[in-house]
C-alpha cells in the first residue's frame, strides 16, 4: 500500500560536467593539452511532491531543467544529489517492477518501429510488458476509441502524419497502463484540433485510471486545460509550486479591461495604458488594485456598450515569472 506521495523529490540536483572551449584554432590546440571543465547545474536543488492521481504542469523556458528532471524521475538519469522516490522506488535503479508502472513520452523517444504498422509495435510492447491478452485487447480497444486510432494502426509508421504518429506514440507508451505518466511536450508541432484531442485524452486517461501525470508543454492552452497545479522552474531552481490561479494572481499586477465604445475618439489614456483601440473596441491595462475604480469611471464617463475585465493571457504571466525570477 502506498503511504507517502507518489512522487517525492527533495533537494534534487543534477550537475553536468562539460568541457568548454572557445572558438578558434589556438583554443582547439590548447584544449588538447588542458581541457577546461565546467559544471553546469541543470537542476539545482528542487523539491516537490505529487500525490496519486494529480495532473501537474511542469513549466519553464528552454534549458530550465524540465527534461533533465523528467529523465531523473523516470530513471534515465542518475541524480548528482538529493532524494528521489517514485512509487516508493528509486528511479535510477530501474527495477522491472518500477519500469512496468511508469512511462515517459518525449519527442525523441520513439518506440514505434518506423517501417512497419504501429499495430506490430504495439504487439511487441505487449510482450515486453507481459500484458495479459485479455487486458491488452481491452486497453487497445479503449485507446483506439479515445485517440481515434482505428485506420492508423495498419499503416506503416513512416506514412503517418506527425499528429497521427504522436497519437500512436502516446498509445504505445500507455499500453501497460502505467500509473505514473511523464509527458514531455506531448502536443508540440501539432495542429489545434490534434492538441485538443490529446488534451482530452490525457484528462480521460487520468480520470479512468487515476494515473499521476507530470507534463511539460510550451502551449499554455495545454496547461490551462489540464493542470490545476503548476510547478515552475528556471535555471534549475524552483520558482513556483501551486495552483495555476495563484500563479496568475501572484504574478499579475495588472488586469485587462476590454470596452466596446462607439468610436475611439475619447482620450482613454487617462484611465490606463491603452493597448489598442480599433473600431471603438479598446483594450486597457490597469493596475489590479485600480480595476474596480477604473471600471466604474469608464461606465460613468463614456457611452459603454460592453465591458469585460480579464486576467492577462497566461503566456504573459509566465513571461513575467521568468523575467522576475525572484519570488
Amino acid at each position: 500500500m502506498e503511504t507517502g506521495p507518489t512522487i517525492r523529490v527533495r533537494d534534487l540536483k543534477k550537475i553536468f560536467v562539460v568541457s568548454r572551449r572557445e572558438a578558434g584554432i589556438r583554443e582547439a590546440l590548447a584544449s588538447l593539452v588542458h581541457r577546461r571543465m565546467e559544471e553546469i547545474p541543470a537542476v539545482d536543488g528542487i523539491s516537490f511532491d505529487l500525490a496519486a492521481g494529480e495532473i501537474v504542469g511542469f513549466l519553464g523556458p528552454n534549458g530550465a531543467g524540465k527534461t533533465t528532471t523528467l529523465k531523473m524521475l523516470s530513471g534515465l538519469l542518475y541524480p548528482t544529489s538529493g532524494e528521489l522516490s517514485v512509487l516508493s522506488h528509486v528511479p535510477w535503479k530501474r527495477e522491472k517492477s518500477f519500469l512496468r508502472q511508469i512511462t515517459l513520452v518525449m519527442g525523441q523517444r520513439n518506440q514505434l518501429v518506423w517501417d512497419i504498422p504501429a499495430a506490430d509495435s504495439f504487439e511487441l510492447n505487449r510482450a515486453i510488458y507481459h500484458i495479459p491478452s485479455a487486458d491488452y485487447r481491452q486497453i487497445l480497444e479503449e485507446l483506439t476509441g479515445l485517440l481515434e486510432l482505428g485506420p492508423l494502426l495498419s499503416k506503416p509508421v513512416r506514412n503517418l502524419s506527425l499528429g497521427e504518429r504522436m497519437k500512436c506514440e502516446i498509445a504505445v507508451a500507455l499500453l501497460h497502463r502505467p500509473s505514473v505518466v511523464f509527458l514531455d511536450e506531448p502536443t508540440i508541432g501539432l495542429d489545434v484540433t490534434m492538441q485538443r484531442r490529446i488534451r482530452s485524452f490525457i484528462t480521460e486517461y487520468n480520470r479512468r485510471y487515476g494515473a499521476t501525470v507530470l507534463l511539460t508543454s510550451h502551449y499554455m492552452a495545454d496547461v490551462e486545460a489540464l493542470c490545476k497545479r503548476v510547478i515552475v522552474i528556471h535555471h534549475g531552481k524552483l520558482l513556483f509550486d501551486g495552483e495555476l490561479a495563484a500563479l496568475v494572481h501572484r504574478f499579475t499586477a495588472h488586469k485587462t479591461i476590454a470596452v466596446q465604445l462607439r468610436d475611439c475618439d475619447a482620450d482613454l489614456s487617462v484611465y490606463g495604458e491603452v493597448i489598442s483601440c480599433e473600431d471603438g473596441r479598446a483594450t486597457l491595462r490597469v493596475p489590479k488594485s485600480e480595476t474596480a475604480r477604473v471600471t466604474e469611471r469608464l461606465l460613468v464617463d463614456l457611452p459603454v456598450i460592453d465591458l469585460t475585465v480579464e486576467d492577462p493571457p497566461i503566456e504573459e504571466v509566465i513571461e513575467r515569472v521568468f523575467a522576475q525570477e525572484a519570488v
Binding site: 534515465l76 522491472k96 504487439e123 515486453i128
Partner: protein, 267 residues
C-alpha cells in the same frame, strides 16, 4: 521464461516485417556476404594451383570446402551490433530500450536471428552453387555433424556476446569507429577468414588460440571439414564454453558500468 520467449517471438515478427520492407538492401547485403568468401576462395585456389597443387596441406578442393563452410558459418554467427550501438547512443534511441523492463540484448538477439532466417535460404543456395562449380572436398561424417551443431551454436553466442560487449565502447567514447576497425582487422586475420589458421605464422596461431575470434569462425569450419581430432574437438568446445561464460560475466559488469556512465552524463 514464458514472458521472455514471447518477447523473442514478437521481436522476430517485428524484425521480419521491417526487413521485408527493404528487399533491395537485403539483396545487396547478401551479395556482399557471398562475395567476400568467394574472393578468398578464388585467391587461395590460384595460389594453391601455382604452388604445385597444395598450400600448407590445403589443396584446391580443400580451399573450396573451407570457404564454402566459412560462408555458412559466418552467415550464422555474424552481427552488426557494433555499428548499431554507435548510432543508438549518439541518437539517444537507447533511452527507449533502457525504460523497458527487459534487457535490450534480447531484442538484438531476436533481431539477428530473424535476419538470418530470411537470408539463410539464399546463402544455402549460394553454397550449393559454389559447390557445383568448385567441387569442394568435405570429409564430413555424422559424428562431425553432431559436434558441429553445438559448436556452431556456441560460436554464435560467443560472437554475439563478445561483439555486444565490445559495442558498449560507444557509451565511453565517440571514436567507436576506430575501435570497430581494430576489432574487425583482428577478427579478419585471427578468426580464420582471410586464411585458414594453420597457414598463419606460428606466433599468430598461438595468439589466435587465446583470443575469441578463432572459436567463433575457424573452429567450427575446421570441425565440419573433418580436420580436427576428437580431442581437438572436445577441447575446442570446452574453450567455447569458457569464452561464453567469460563474455557473459564481462558483459554483466560492463553493461552496468556503461549504463551508469550513460545516465551520469546525460541520456
Amino acid at each position: 521464461m514464458k514472458g521472455l520467449s514471447d518477447v523473442y517471438l514478437q521481436q522476430l515478427k517485428t524484425s521480419l516485417a521491417a526487413m521485408l520492407q527493404y528487399r533491395a538492401s537485403l539483396v545487396i547485403w547478401l551479395i556482399g556476404n557471398i562475395l567476400e568468401p568467394l574472393i578468398y576462395l578464388v585467391v587461395w585456389s590460384t595460389v594453391s594451383r601455382s604452388s604445385g597443387g597444395s598450400v600448407g596441406g590445403f589443396a584446391e578442393k580443400d580451399f573450396a570446402a573451407y570457404y564454402i563452410a566459412l560462408l555458412l558459418v559466418n552467415q550464422v554467427t555474424y552481427t552488426w551490433v557494433m555499428y548499431e550501438f554507435d548510432y543508438r547512443v549518439r541518437q539517444g534511441t537507447f533511452s527507449s530500450a533502457l525504460l523497458h523492463p527487459v534487457h535490450p540484448i534480447h531484442s538484438d538477439i531476436a533481431d539477428n536471428i530473424s535476419s538470418k532466417v530470411v537470408s539463410f535460404p539464399f546463402v544455402l543456395a549460394a553454397a550449393a552453387a559454389l559447390s557445383a562449380i568448385f567441387h569442394p572436398a568435405f570429409r564430413t561424417t555424422a559424428v562431425t555433424v553432431a559436434f558441429f551443431i553445438p559448436a556452431l551454436a556456441l560460436a554464435f553466442l560467443v560472437r554475439f556476446l563478445v561483439e555486444w560487449t565490445a559495442a558498449l565502447a560507444a557509451f565511453w567514447t565517440t571514436r567507436v569507429n576506430a575501435i570497430n576497425q581494430i576489432y574487425f582487422i583482428s577478427a579478419l586475420f585471427l578468426s580464420g577468414q582471410i586464411a585458414p589458421l594453420s597457414l598463419l605464422p606460428p606466433p599468430l596461431r598461438v595468439v589466435a588460440m587465446f583470443l575469441p575470434f578463432r572459436w567463433t569462425i575457424g573452429f567450427p569450419i575446421e570441425l565440419i571439414l573433418g580436420r580436427l581430432t576428437r580431442a581437438q574437438i572436445l577441447t575446442g568446445l570446452a574453450v567455447q564454453v569458457v569464452w561464453l561464460l567469460a563474455a557473459l560475466a564481462l558483459l554483466r559488469i560492463l553493461w552496468r558500468a556503461s549504463v551508469r556512465k550513460y545516465s551520469a552524463v546525460g541520456a
